[in-house]
């Protein structure tokens, strides 16, 4: 094995690809070779680095320095200063004051622990960090009942939005006798502001596959589908590549490890519909239909894809599973709160100093996430509100910055954690405008199956447009609440039940803005 003086990790994701990272790496390699440093400096193309700077980002180990927005023309300076002479290039560093270091993140990672550290396209690197040990353990040393019990004990809750306990979900399907059962992975991430699943899949695809395998074993499924949105090209390529590697290594296929267990994983590509994040709509789409949700019950766990028992789980949920099985539920319970153990991956956007991705203990406050993981507010901006959970989420004012963020605590304030998207707004931004944009989104994404949602989203959009144009009254504002409440009580699926969240939180917390704009 070769020993290198420094490792340059280059984050390859949709963002950096858009910034031309492939050409960049080739040029960087050339420059390194030009200085004959190729034996000393290793360049590693990896997934998301755990911070989300602009453009092309690099992390250099062992120095643990992060560079962001590095361009081709910076390469000569970077190589001659940092890699030849050992002087850091301050102007390109993520935070030249050194106060904000994503190193802090590494201490409490579960889902992202390998992201940005291993090469996501190499199964050997995943194996090198203990990958697939949980799969081996689950398959050879544990019974399906034992796996379900362990996941139940861990208290892992679904990370897709609703927070349903994963072990409980599995326990509905596991004991059923059926000639076929399925696992479906919901990778149709469409909640505005959310891209955590994309980065989890880009950064560590094998971890997701391992989670799927363990789930399949626990519930007795021999076929798994990953339903992924068509735009996520890099994820699709990496997952396909990872599945091929697993087949080669005998981790997937027939009679795995001579246990008599068969499993096949296949990718299905979506075609663009927000409602397909709803599990029964997703199943309809997999069957080749319009993505209209189904009546529940029967729940998919009992009667799902082609009427067979089907467990549908979010990407992040399954990515937690290998850790739980390998280290035991006790280890997992050390993270987060008693009601919501574990960590949560957030995407923080808007007017913070370092928008990006982070993995934080469940129950951390919004203030902690913004200040410690996103570097606080952007210089010159003051916090006004945060949209937490995407369009189906809530608008939280400053007074709620210290509420614990987990499924349980937020529920007490009629708020939701949702998918983990945090969109931070500054004091100049208008809540009415924001609500307008959210309601426009719902109007567009309503699938049209049930009338409360189909008509309700249209009416809400008309009313907020009228208010936004300064032609509305406070009666219109109250009417929005009534409509959204009716939708919550009568809509067929979560899509129509969701707009009330944003509407109520906006009106309750920022009533004066609605009064102002309607009294002009």
């Amino acid at each position: 094995m070769k020993y290198f003086r420094s490792h340059i990790l280059v984050g390859i994701n949709e963002t950096s690809v858009a910034a031309g990272v492939h050409d960049f790496v080739a040029e960087l390699r050339q420059e390194i070779n030009k200085h004959s440093l190729q034996e000393e400096i290793n360049i590693l193309e990896t997934g998301p680095l755990g911070f989300f700077g602009k453009g092309i980002c690099l992390t250099v180990f062992p120095e643990n320095v992060n560079y962001e927005n590095v361009k081709s023309e910076d390469i000569p300076e970077l190589v001659s200063e940092h890699f030849l002479k050992g002087r850091l290039v301050k102007r390109l560093m993520l935070d030249s004051s050194g106060k904000f270091s994503p190193k802090f993140n590494y201490d409490q990672r579960i889902v992202l622990r390998n992201s940005g550290i291993i090469d996501p396209e190499s199964i050997d690197e995943y194996l090198g960090v203990g990958g697939y040990e949980a799969w081996e353990k689950a398959l050879l040393n544990m019974t399906p009942e034992g796996i379900v019990a362990e996941v139940k004990k861990s208290g892992l809750r679904g990370r897709g939005g609703a927070g349903f306990p994963a072990g409980l979900k599995w326990s509905f399907t596991a004991p059923l006798k059926a000639e076929q059962k399925y696992v479906v992975v919901n990778a149709d991430e469409g909640e505005p502001g959310t891209f955590k699943d994309r980065l989890i899949m880009e950064g560590d695809p094998h971890q997701l596959l391992e989670g799927i395998m363990i789930c399949a074993r626990a519930v007795g499924a021999t076929k798994a589908w990953i339903y992924i949105r068509g735009e996520y090209k890099l994820c699709i390529n990496r997952l396909n590549h990872a599945i091929e590697q697993c087949k080669e290594y005998g981790l997937l296929g027939r009679n795995i490890f001579e246990s008599g267990f068969d499993l096949d994983i296949e990718i299905k590509i979506g075609a663009g519909a927000y409602v397909c994040g709803e599990e029964t709509a997703l199943i309809e789409s997999l069957e080749g239909n319009r993505g209209n949700p189904r009546w529940k019950p029967p729940f998919p766990g009992v009667e799902g894809l082609w009427k067979y028992p089907t467990v549908v789980n979010n990407v992040e949920t399954l990515a937690n599973v290998p850790y739980i099985i390998k280290n035991g539920a006790e280890e997992f319970l050390k993270y987060g709160t008693p009601e919501c153990p574990g960590t949560k991956v957030y995407t923080i956007l808007g007017d913070v100093a370092h928008p990006g991705l982070c993995e934080v203990d469940m129950g951390a406050t919004l203030r902690t996430v913004i200040n410690e993981y996103a570097g606080g507010m952007k210089k010159g901006f003051k916090f006004k509100a945060a949209l937490v959970g995407g369009a189906a989420g809530v608008i939280l004012p400053e007074k709620m910055l210290d509420v614990k963020m987990d499924f349980h605590s937020l529920n007490q304030y009629a708020a939701v954690l949702g998918s983990g998207a945090i969109l931070v707004m500054n004091e100049h931004q208008s809540i009415v405008d924001m609500l307008w944009s959210i309601l426009r989104f719902f109007r567009h994404e309503s699938c049209g199956k049930c009338s409360p949602c189909r008509n309700g989203t249209q009416q809400l959009y008309s009313l907020i447009s009228k208010i936004k144009a300064g032609e509305g009254t406070m009666d219109d504002v109250e009417l929005m609440l009534t409509i959204a409440q009716t939708m919550q009580q009568t809509s067929f699926c979560a899509l129509g039940q969701s707009p009330i969240m944003a509407i109520r939180s906006a009106i309750e917390n920022f009533r004066e803005e609605f009064v102002d704009i309607t009294s002009k």
Partner: protein, 151 residues
Amino acid sequence: MYKEICGKYAPTKDNLIYILHEIQDTHPQHYISEEAVQVISDYLKIPSNHIYGVLTFYSMYSTKPRGKNIIRLCESPPCYIKGSDNILRKLKNALNIKVGETTQDGLFTLELAACLGVCGNAPVMMINDDVYGDLTEEKVDEIITKIRGGK
């Protein structure tokens, strides 16, 4: 040509979405014609109204001929608060078309999209498979000019 594409997939309904994707991606005008719907209907033995229903449900499919470069600008809240409306106005002006239309030279089609999952770089648009982030009006000009030059 449509028959050939269909033939790559087993004739089961769940392959409909795949077949539609491939037919649209390989068509020079990136759309699914009535003729294609008929061929798929015969192949999968499902009524063409079902296919049409699926086709019009999902935002990635089009029943109208489109340009060589399909611009999909995100209009979801994270992009909206970063000024996607200004970018839309700029695109409309630069291309001289409305949303859903194609330029006369067949080079561009302008569409709106829900969240593209690249919110860290809002406002964002995709042109075919490529993502363009941190858009400004100047950047839009550059991108359009570059594509026009390269055809």
